[in-house]
């Protein structure tokens, strides 16, 4: 281990150190977390490119994209995690643990992004997962939160075991856990080992597929998303889910690229089923949080399209959509957190007349939802455009079913517009319900504005969604370069 090695994991080191420090420093834990995350972000441009720790860690363009995304999401979530949002009165002193856990979760994500070895990848993945289990159950007094955490933990532990078993099969066949070596492994071509190798691939896919809420591994997601405190939900749907993508992209597009013919159809099918089922189940949800949970499942289906496409352009599309989806979803869940903190709950009826009570929050939520549906010229449209067009390109050159996958994605976007529009309709065209009128006697009917940090986080996400929609060129250029570093 040299100083060069340590420099390669500088962002991870900073987050872990700040996480530990915040356990001992009693006050201002939120500000401390923010400073730590900003420091980690500032270190990104100075990381030495290339392998470190004897090739188990590798900082490349791909890793940097994901690290930047994870840090940005952790920043947004930290900003949005005002004490009142996540911590009801019964745990006034629990603030610092919350931010410590959040930082540990982030450190795990960062390490997944730069891992170049299956074992490092798995351990980092678990570090992040364990922290998120605790975060989901953080509001101990709330039954839904505890139930959500239990469900999340049991399914998460099972999935990890499956993924680990898959990794052990891959190792058993090829004798290596390094992704670059795995890519050149000849043993997998031997017929007597082919079955074990394929089983390993499928098990890895299933194990990590849980994290990205790919159907049929999605069953935990709606309940967990609904029960967790809203900022934690935002972290699950953005950072944590994208960590799953980072892991799968590394394993399949680097380690298993040579066996593309074996898995392309499987991931294509997974993409199709995930987007369709997610959208269909979202149609009838009455809780906005659940609606967003299912929408987030559907969006994972779109990102999955990048796997069977497997070109640099397609991967750039996948990364782009991972980024825009994170921004839109984080923004939307933080608004949900704000409404819930105002004491109105998460039901669709709580959003009736929001345009009059909170014009900015309503406008921002409308923009996030339209962007999720892919209405131009918002960020979600641009990223879907790159993603779908990469599928069309790959379909014109190779297997033509990819064009149908793009068409299915496009039609799914139209389908999703229906339930997004339901929320817009409630906010803009439906009057306040009697329930609301009763609470409006409350001396502080709008307790939303004082959450300064949350407001800032929403404004940031809102501005980025519009900006990336109007001028995506620099980001897209960066992502294309990052994607080429993998191929």
């Amino acid at each position: 281990m040299s100083a060069q090695d340590l420099r390669a994991i500088l962002p991870e080191l900073i987050t872990v150190l700040v996480a530990l420090a915040s356990l001992f420093i009693r006050r201002r834990s939120q500000q401390l977390a923010l400073v730590g995350l900003l420091l980690a972000s500032a270190s990104l441009p100075f990381l030495p490119r290339g392998p470190a720790f004897s090739g188990t860690v590798e900082v490349d363009g791909f890793a940097l994209v994901f690290q930047a995304l994870f840090l940005a999401m952790a920043l947004l979530v930290t900003l949005g995690s005002e004490a009142e949002v996540v911590l009801p009165a019964e745990r006034p002193r629990g603030k610092k643990e919350y931010y410590t856990l959040l930082l540990f979760a982030t450190a795990g994500m960062l390490a997944v992004a730069s891992a170049a070895d299956l074992i490092v990848l798995f351990i980092s993945f678990e570090l992040s997962s364990l922290a998120t289990y605790a975060l989901v159950g953080y509001t101990k007094g709330d039954e839904r939160s505890v139930e959500a955490a239990t469900k999340f933990f049991i399914i998460g532990a099972l999935s990890s075991a499956i993924a680990l078993y898959g990794i052990s099969l891959l190792y058993g066949v090829t004798g290596t856990t390094a992704l670059r070596t795995l890519a050149q492994a000849r043993e997998a071509q031997r017929p007597e080992l082919a079955l074990a190798f394929k089983a390993g691939m499928v098990l890895v896919l299933a194990g990590f597929g849980f994290k990205i809420t790919a159907v049929p591994f999605h069953l935990w997601a709606p309940d967990t998303y609904e029960g967790a405190p809203a900022p934690v939900t935002a972290l699950l749907a953005t950072g944590s889910k994208k960590m799953g993508f980072a892991a799968l992209l590394k394993i399949f597009l680097v380690g298993l690229m040579a066996f593309r013919a074996d898995w392309a159809w499987l991931l294509g099918l997974l993409a199709f089923v995930t987007m369709t089922v997610g959208n269909l189940l979202a149609l009838n949800q009455t809780s906005v949080k659940r609606l967003l949970a299912y929408s987030s499942i559907a969006q994972a289906g779109y990102i999955l399209m990048a796997f069977p496409v497997a070109t640099a352009y397609g991967l750039a599309g996948g990364l782009f959509h991972a980024i825009t989806h994170s921004l839109m979803t984080a923004g939307a869940f933080l608004i949900v957190a704000a409404i819930a903190a105002g004491g109105r709950g998460e039901d669709l009826s709580a959003y009736q007349g929001l345009a009059r009570r909170q014009p900015f929050l309503a406008l921002a939520l409308m923009i996030f939802l339209l962007s999720l549906a892919g209405v131009p010229p918002l960020a979600g449209f641009q990223s879907k455009f790159v993603l779908f067009s990469s599928a069309v390109e790959a379909g014109l050159k190779g297997p033509s079913w990819l064009i149908w996958l793009a068409a299915a994605g496009a039609l799914n976007s139209a389908l999703s517009l229906y339930y997004y529009a339901r929320v817009i309709k409630a906010m803009y065209f439906e009057g306040p319900t009697p329930a609301f009128q009763a609470t409006s006697a409350d001396p502080h009917p709008e307790r939303l504005v004082p959450h300064g940090g949350l407001f800032v986080a929403v404004v940031l996400a809102f501005a980025l969604v519009i900006l990336l929609g109007l001028y995506p060129a620099p980001l897209l250029q960066w992502l294309l370069e990052a994607a080429r570093s993998l191929f």
């Binding site: 892919g374 455009f385 014109l396 496009a410 976007s413 529009a421 309709k425 065209f429 060129a473």
Partner: protein
């Protein structure tokens, strides 16, 4: 200059939103609606109809990594649509004086911005962005200021047309990669796309056609239209019928035909049958309507059928007449929607059966409705006559005596209009008509302006037709591999 044309309504939309005082807001909105109209009128005089290609070109790279640029230009096909959009927005602003909020005017200006963008975009990506952007303000307008079933109509309009256009988007992506240009620039794709294989062209044409035909809309993709039209506020209906429907036929002429000639030839007969079916179906359904606004809505399907018929012939005369028909219908249907809106305003109902004898109490309303109906049934001397005449003449040259089928529908059209007029504004005075008020002055003058324009372009279609013919000859027919024979 074209960027200014786009910028004025966009900026206007934001400013109108910010103005709190209602009187000031109204004046500001009017000023921002007049600006583009004045600009478009100037453009109409500055456009040189004889020049090939596009004029007032502006280009700026936008997303270089995938060959997307902001490129706008104008020719004799887009100019009438641009002028129409600015004219109708201005007239609608004059017309909607009562009880409208600043969001209403702001959304209208946003809608104008998006519509103008569709007609001047020369980059397919930009075209698509504007195309979809149209949906958002229209959805909010229908939902915010519409009739009793507005929630259903608005969401149906939004999801129905969005579904069709995402398929169109896949077609556009295929064009991008298939034509080998790796650019969304219309002119650069036009250089490569016509050489692609017939199968590719037919499939891509099918994807584009779906997006366009749903917008027009033609049978059997028309079901969103009656709902949206009937529930939309009058101003919304006027722009919906006057301009939004034309986006479909415009897209066919601008994008699908010149880029995919083999696809166009394959789909020619299908478009022909679809157009004739829509003409017939729209007219027959009109006969059964009880609601004046619904009647006007269905008549739009019938008249857009004439447009599709003209396009389907793939000849210069057919295309030029179809474009003129788009323009004429763009003047006449907003007039009819405004007239029904004014009648609803004055009499409280649009039910044909309850309106008998309205002309006795409201002579101005009667006059306008009659003028609109006569124009819409193709009376010589009014704008739609030369258009329909041209389409049917071209159809005779193209398909021979089959042209009698659509021509006979004119009789039906005359029938349903005259019958509706007889029952609603003539005849015995009904109790409701007795109480009715006549058209208000602020509603009257915008409509009179439209009547005057309809007569002007009916008597003197020459200049527009000259520009349209030249643009068809230069910008559409070469792609189709046809010479300039009429």
């Amino acid at each position: 200059m074209l960027s200014w044309l786009l910028l004025v309504p966009l900026v206007g939309s934001l400013i109108v939103w910010a103005v709190r005082d209602e009187r000031t807001m109204r004046l500001v909105a009017l000023a921002f609606a007049f600006g583009p109209f004045a600009l478009a009128t100037a453009l109409a005089f500055l456009l040189d109809p004889g020049r090939a290609g596009y004029q007032f070109l502006e280009q700026q790279t936008w997303i270089p990594a995938i060959g997307i640029s902001y490129k706008v230009g104008l020719d004799g096909i887009s100019l009438p649509m641009v002028w129409l959009t600015t004219l109708l927005t201005f007239l609608v602003f004059l017309y909607s004086r009562d009880s409208r909020t600043r969001s209403y005017f702001a959304l209208f200006l946003l809608l104008e911005f998006a519509l103008l963008g569709v007609f001047v975009a020369l980059d397919l990506f930009l075209f698509y962005v504007f195309w979809e952007l149209v949906l958002v303000p229209m959805y909010l307008l229908i939902h915010g200021w519409g009739g009793p079933r507005r929630a259903y109509a608005a969401i149906k309009f939004f999801v129905y047309t969005f579904s069709a256009s995402v398929i169109m988007l896949v077609g556009i992506m295929a064009l991008y990669f298939g034509a080998g240009a790796h650019s969304f620039d219309l002119e650069r794709i036009a250089a490569g796309a016509p050489q692609t294989s017939q199968l590719f062209q037919v499939l891509v044409f099918a994807a584009l056609f779906l997006g366009f035909v749903v917008k027009m809309p033609q049978v059997p993709f028309h079901t969103w239209l009656p709902d949206a039209h009937v529930e939309a506020p009058t101003g919304g209906s006027a722009l919906l019928a006057g301009v939004l429907l034309k986006m479909g036929s415009y897209g066919l002429i601008r994008v699908a035909l010149p880029l995919l000639p083999e696809g166009a030839r394959f789909f020619g007969p299908i478009m022909l049958v679809m157009g004739i079916l829509s003409i017939l179906y729209g007219a027959l359904v009109c006969l059964a309507q009880q609601d004046l606004k619904r009647l006007v809505a269905y008549s739009s399907i019938s008249h857009m059928g004439v447009v599709l018929l003209g396009i389907a012939l793939l000849s210069q005369a057919g295309l030029a007449s179809a474009i003129f028909m788009m323009f004429a219908h763009g003047l006449i249907s907003p007039l009819l929607f405004m007239a029904t809106g004014a009648i609803q305003h004055g009499a409280g109902t649009r039910e044909i059966a309850q309106l008998g004898g309205l002309a006795l109490r409201a002579p101005q309303a009667g006059f306008i409705l009659t003028a609109g109906a006569l124009a819409s049934l193709g009376l010589p001397g009014m704008a739609q006559f030369p258009a329909e005449f041209g389409v049917f003449l071209a159809a005779y040259l193209g398909v021979g005596l089959w042209v009698l089928v659509p021509i006979l529908t004119i009789v039906l059209t005359a029938g349903y209009y005259l019958w509706a007029l007889e029952r609603s504004i003539f005849g015995k005075l009904s109790p409701i008509a007795e109480q009715a008020q006549d058209v208000r002055a602020y509603e009257f003058w915008p409509m009179i302006a439209l009547v005057a324009l309809i007569i002007l372009f009916g008597l003197w279609p020459g200049p527009w037709l000259g520009a349209i013919n030249a643009a068809v000859l230069n910008n559409v027919l070469p792609g189709l591999g046809l010479g300039g024979t009429p």
